[in-house]
């Protein structure tokens, strides 16, 4: 089911249902290959070239996998970018370059992630606050506390931890493998487990799910916790890659808005209940392809940003404009 989610409501009827993730990746690969050939760098079209593109996608990948859960359950999380910063800073601050502190730091960071997700989930379910506002609020709180305590790169990660970002197994970076592994686990969980069925049920029809005896608030909270754990993973990855965490790394990566964008581009609907991780990963990879293409043809950083905004809109418009109803 998750494989064909993208065929927009009603529109997919007459068209053959091409799974959105496959279409996205295929389109990305084609555009990339054409660009490389046109730019006179056909040598880039290789496993290594592809892997380097996956590497670009890794940081966004973790957080986007998490965001998929939040959106599927009918919520959303704008606090992820700030949580990424918190996680990155806390990781390097706790480690202070000491390999012995790696495990405590990772545990602490994941615990912080889980706690933030729990708080988000509780505010949304127990206080009835619209998730956009709730997570915007928690994001502001996280960033405020973080920026008050840390003004610059804090601490450092030991060499051993940098393996996460720079180590390789064969041609594949460990970070990429971890991200793809997490995506696979998330995808299989959604497709094959009772928990996955509940996520879709709560996102698709909350009242119906409640009547079926599902503890909907618990599912929403769990989804938020998974979302925050994804952000915490991105923070760990960035700390490893940058060798230290700074309180602006999350905001600089625009992980809040970009994670939402790739989830939606991947065919998960904002209202919840339909979509999946495969689409999200495809969206993340497409973003990385676009980056690579722009770099190859030498578009400057700012124009790249302009195009990126346009592409987000165009990608969503591509399957939204056929819809009959109104959108606001």
């Amino acid at each position: 089911m998750t494989a064909t989610v993208g065929s927009a409501a009603g529109a997919g009827r007459r068209l053959p249902r091409i799974p959105v993730p496959a279409a996205l990746i295929l389109g990305g690969v084609l555009a990339w290959a054409v660009t490389m050939v046109a730019a006179g760098q056909p040598g880039q079209i290789s496993v290594d070239g592809f892997v380097s593109i996956l590497q670009r996608a890794t940081a966004l990948g973790f957080v986007a996998i998490g965001q998929t859960f939040a959106i599927l359950v009918g919520s959303i999380d704008l606090s992820v970018a700030n949580l990424v910063s918190v996680a990155a800073v806390m990781a390097s601050f706790i480690m202070q370059g000491d390999p012995a502190m790696i495990v405590p730091a990772v545990v602490a960071v994941l615990a912080i992630g889980a706690a933030v997700g729990l708080a988000n989930g509780l505010i949304v379910t127990q206080l009835g606050v619209n998730p956009l506002i709730a997570t915007l609020g928690t994001g502001l709180i996280l960033q405020g506390v973080l920026s008050t305590s840390f003004q610059n790169f804090a601490g450092a990660v030991p060499e051993a931890f940098q393996v996460f970002a720079y180590g390789q197994i064969g041609p594949f970076p460990i970070g990429v493998l971890t991200m793809l592994g997490m995506a696979a686990v998330a995808g299989l969980t959604l497709k094959y487990t009772v928990f996955g069925a509940r996520i879709y049920a709560v996102g698709g029809n909350r009242d119906g799910a409640r009547l079926a005896g599902i503890k909907t608030t618990r599912v929403v909270i769990q989804a938020h916790m998974l979302c925050s754990l994804g952000a915490a993973m991105t923070g760990l990855y960035l700390a490893s890659r940058l060798r230290s965490g700074a309180p602006w790394v999350g905001r600089d990566g625009v992980y809040d808005l970009e994670s939402i964008a790739v989830v939606v581009i991947g065919g998960t609907i904002l209202a919840g209940g339909r979509g999946g991780v495969a689409g999200t990963i495809a969206g993340v990879i497409v973003f990385a392809f676009i980056d690579a293409i722009f770099n190859t043809i030498g578009i400057d950083a700012y124009l790249k940003q302009v195009l990126r905004g346009a592409i987000i809109i165009a990608a969503v418009a591509a399957y939204a404009y056929r819809m009959k109803g109104h959108v606001a």
Partner: protein, 347 residues
């Protein structure tokens, strides 16, 4: 703000009896504004904050202090007045912060210190605002892209345009006659002592927004389509035009705010950062309902002033700036949680 809650209607008359009299006597929004019977809680919070500020720093209690405070708060109040149209119509406008930055950087680049260029520059910026509003609205209305995505894309793109124009750092400078709006203050005014031009701009824009939302059929149609776009369409409302109108007003509010900010904050690449979320927060604190159908301009403006007052108070209390953001987050959650609890109690 002496606006009052413009959403509240005059004392009800049974439909079966004299409904005609009640509504006609109202003669529209002016009479409704008079119905201050129920005061929105935002005004109480606002007054409490202002009293606290005045107590902490008596200079704020003087007219001049008050006017300066209003001047600094004016851009956010204007942005909130614009944002509330989009929120009431059921959407979000995340592009306003970037548009503010673009207006400031673009103006500086275009004028480059030449006072004779000010008129044409202002006209061009209004044109840019109109274009951005039209494009945002059209993407949502015709391409059916949810506004949170559409204006997010616009945010990213506009920021790129702004930075690309200026090459990543502020360039050019704004002459005195451009900065007049944000910086100049008339002195020796009876009663209030000083009167910043920014406050005049705020009053004019605010009055215009209040009129549009609460005194025109356009406003009623924004409410109706935010509530149920399909029903509005079937009743004959020109849904795309009204929706685009809401985005247009929001974009123009960003142009006006940008001109003011360019005046007193000067030229920088991050001048508009974060304003989009603050404007949404202000509207929501002012009682606008996310996803549409409810909201009022005076309370949204009051929400913006409340946020500004809060920042000022925290500043006086010696909170570092990042912590002020944290408190803003807390207030935001608390305000919405309070509204939800109220709604729950009323059923």
């Amino acid at each position: 703000m002496s606006g009052g809650d413009a959403d509240r209607a005059p004392a009800p008359a049974p439909v079966a009896e004299g409904a005609a009299g009640a509504a006609r006597a109202g003669g529209g929004w002016r009479a409704r504004l008079g119905g201050l019977a129920r005061i929105h809680p935002i005004y109480i919070v606002l007054i409490a904050l202002l009293v606290a500020i005045a107590w902490m720093s008596p200079v704020f209690a003087e007219p001049a202090g008050m006017m300066n405070f209003l001047r600094r708060a004016a851009p956010l109040m204007i942005l909130a007045a614009g944002q509330v149209f989009v929120i009431v119509a059921g959407g979000f406008d995340l592009a306003v912060g970037s548009l503010v930055t673009l207006v400031v950087l673009g103006s500086a680049l275009m004028i480059d210190g030449d006072p004779t260029m000010t008129g044409i520059t202002l006209a061009v910026m209004v044109g840019v605002g109109v274009a951005v509003g039209l494009v945002n609205g059209a993407i949502v209305a015709y391409l059916k892209v949810p506004s949170i995505i559409a204006t997010l894309g616009m945010l990213i793109s506009l920021k790129g345009v702004a930075l690309s124009l200026s090459g990543g750092s502020p360039q050019g400078y704004l002459p005195e006659n451009f900065r007049f709006f944000g910086r100049h203050t008339f002195t020796d005014i009876p009663l209030i002592g000083i009167l910043p031009v920014a406050v005049i701009v705020l009053v004019v824009f605010g009055a215009l927004a209040i009129w549009l939302m609460h005194g025109t059929r356009f406003g009623k149609q924004v409410l109706a389509l935010g509530d149920n776009p399909r029903a509005a369409e079937l009743a004959g409302v020109n849904v795309p035009v009204v929706r685009i109108g809401a985005f247009l007003i929001s974009a123009l509010s960003a142009v006006v705010a940008g001109v003011l900010l360019g005046g007193f904050a000067g030229v920088s690449t991050d001048v508009g950062d974060g304003y989009e979320l603050q404007a949404i927060a202000a509207a929501v604190i002012g009682g606008a309902q996310l996803l549409g159908g409810r909201g009022s301009v005076p309370t949204a403006i009051a929400g913006a002033l409340t946020l500004s007052a809060l920042f000022t108070l925290l500043n006086l209390l010696g909170f570092p700036k990042p912590l002020r953001d944290a408190v803003q987050g807390l207030i935001l959650i608390a305000a919405v949680a309070y509204t939800m609890a109220q709604r729950h109690r009323r059923g």
